[in-house]
């Protein structure tokens, strides 16, 4: 007979670690996720950079434009890969896996936290893949090790906030397919209406304030400063933190609430 001392009890850290490992394993074994997280941003980096370079910066070399756009494609990779977070969260909800977790004596935060930690690991992988390919094509770090660290941390913070947002959507949406179709369009607009492809001055007047407020612009500009120097990154880092914190609190709150209500 089992006594109370050996009965399983919730542990936020262990439970989260176990579920993060599960999510990470599933991602690594899903061809679609790998495609979205690694192949997609690399394909865009190679193909879009080479086609836009001479149009956007007629007097600069291809390598120079790649130097300019690697932060964009890394950030786009993270942005679109979170769609698979939404799909995975929705699948867990509809297959009953979530229900099973809810009936286990584990921390109620662990399922969500585990997923988001696994996401952050995937985002780091995306970031590294795109950056390494970018370095092969001409991307350079000039600001030393602190620059490299800043360059890696800022998009991960952004991805963390975005993942919470996606999970909240996945838990509320009736159809994953429809939600993904809508989000895909929204994320495209966010990615393009930024300083990712062209400098702010090349955007039409009305689009400039939109691009300046766009979280993707802040992430990209901060990454550019950390990689190459230039204007101080402080404001962009703060803005990224603000966006991430806001999304995390709002979406995290919604996600936990919705999840509790579905019990």
């Amino acid at each position: 007979m089992r006594n109370h001392d050996t009965a399983p009890h919730p542990s936020l850290w262990t439970d989260t670690a176990v579920l993060a490992a599960r999510s990470a394993l599933l991602m690594a074994r899903s061809p679609t996720t790998l495609l979205m997280a690694a192949a997609f941003p690399v394909i865009l980096l190679c193909l879009l950079s080479v086609s836009f370079a001479k149009v956007v910066m007629p007097d600069a070399s291809y390598a120079h434009y790649i130097d300019y756009t690697v932060p964009l494609f890394a950030t786009m990779g993270i942005t679109f890969a979170t769609l698979s977070t939404a799909i995975a969260a929705h699948t867990d909800r509809t297959t009953g896996f979530d229900d099973r977790l809810r009936t286990l004596p584990i921390s109620p935060i662990a399922p969500l936290a585990g997923r988001i930690i696994a996401d952050t690991i995937r985002n780091l992988a995306t970031l590294l893949v795109v950056t390494v390919v970018g370095i092969g094509l001409g991307f350079r770090f000039t600001e030393g090790i602190t620059g490299v660290i800043g360059y890696l941390v800022v998009p991960l913070i952004y991805g963390f906030g975005l993942a919470w947002f996606m999970v909240a959507i996945a838990l509320s949406a009736a159809s994953a397919e429809s939600a993904v179709a809508v989000l895909n369009a929204v994320l495209l607009v966010l990615s393009f209406l930024s300083t990712g492809f062209v400098t702010i001055g090349d955007l039409p007047g009305w689009a400039q304030p939109v691009a300046e407020a766009n979280p993707i612009t802040h992430v990209i500009e901060a990454m550019r400063t950390f990689a190459h120097g230039g204007e101080p990154a402080g404001l962009h880092v703060l803005a990224t933190l603000g966006w991430a914190l806001g999304l995390t609190l709002l979406a995290g709150y919604t996600a936990v609430r919705v999840r509790a209500r579905q019990a």
């Binding site: 495609l35 193909l47 062209v198």
Partner: protein
Amino acid sequence: MSPTLIPTPQPSFVSDTAQLAGRHLRLMSRRPSSIIGAIVLPLVFAFLFFTVLNGVMERAGVDYAQYVIPAVVLQAMFFSAISASVWAAEDASGGMSARLRSMPISRTAPVLSLLVGELVRALLSLVVLVIAGYGFGFRFERGAGYVLLFVALAIGCAAAACAGYIVLGFAIAKVEQVQAIGGLLYYPLLLVSNLFVPAEAFPGWLQPLVENQPVSRIADALRAVSTLGHEDLGRTILIAVLWIAGLLTAFTFLAPRAFGRVR
């Protein structure tokens, strides 16, 4: 009782295709992601390319509205093709293909109806994009006959692309894999082309490929029939027509083989 006394329903190419095309269109109209893919996404791309690149293209002396509307029209034709491949894979992986193949109906109808349904969808995307294009400043600068030629070339391209993607969908018959492979084909075909930027923007060694690949050739023809000032109008149209006819013939030959191993 003699079996010959039982009336057997006769296959009818026209009626069977019409019934199944009606089914396909009805299913698409009830799927939010299909509507987004047919209408919203093409508009988003038209809007984004125009907004982001119009400034830099103007500087380079390109009338970008005239340039990019044919491009996003062709892109939308590929969206139809990708949709066709997914529906084909769904029919093949569920029981629908098997049931249709065991019924006394036209052998061609199940494949052709997908094509017909997708071409209706493609025409809808085309009309929506041209109307939006007029807002950006795009104009048909030649006569009404050339407008019809524009539509015919675009739908011809959609037919060739759909036929190829339908072969892919039936041959692989797994939705996720079809989406992945379809996407991997789509990016290089559309981005290593003169769709969004002129061929001269690409590195010298890549330019022959960019100029001569079918998507660029068809885009050339769409621009030639919509915009004044193109030399060699007849030759440009002829090359596009030959590409479309050649690809369509090849895929039409393959499609029934992919659909079923029995007559």
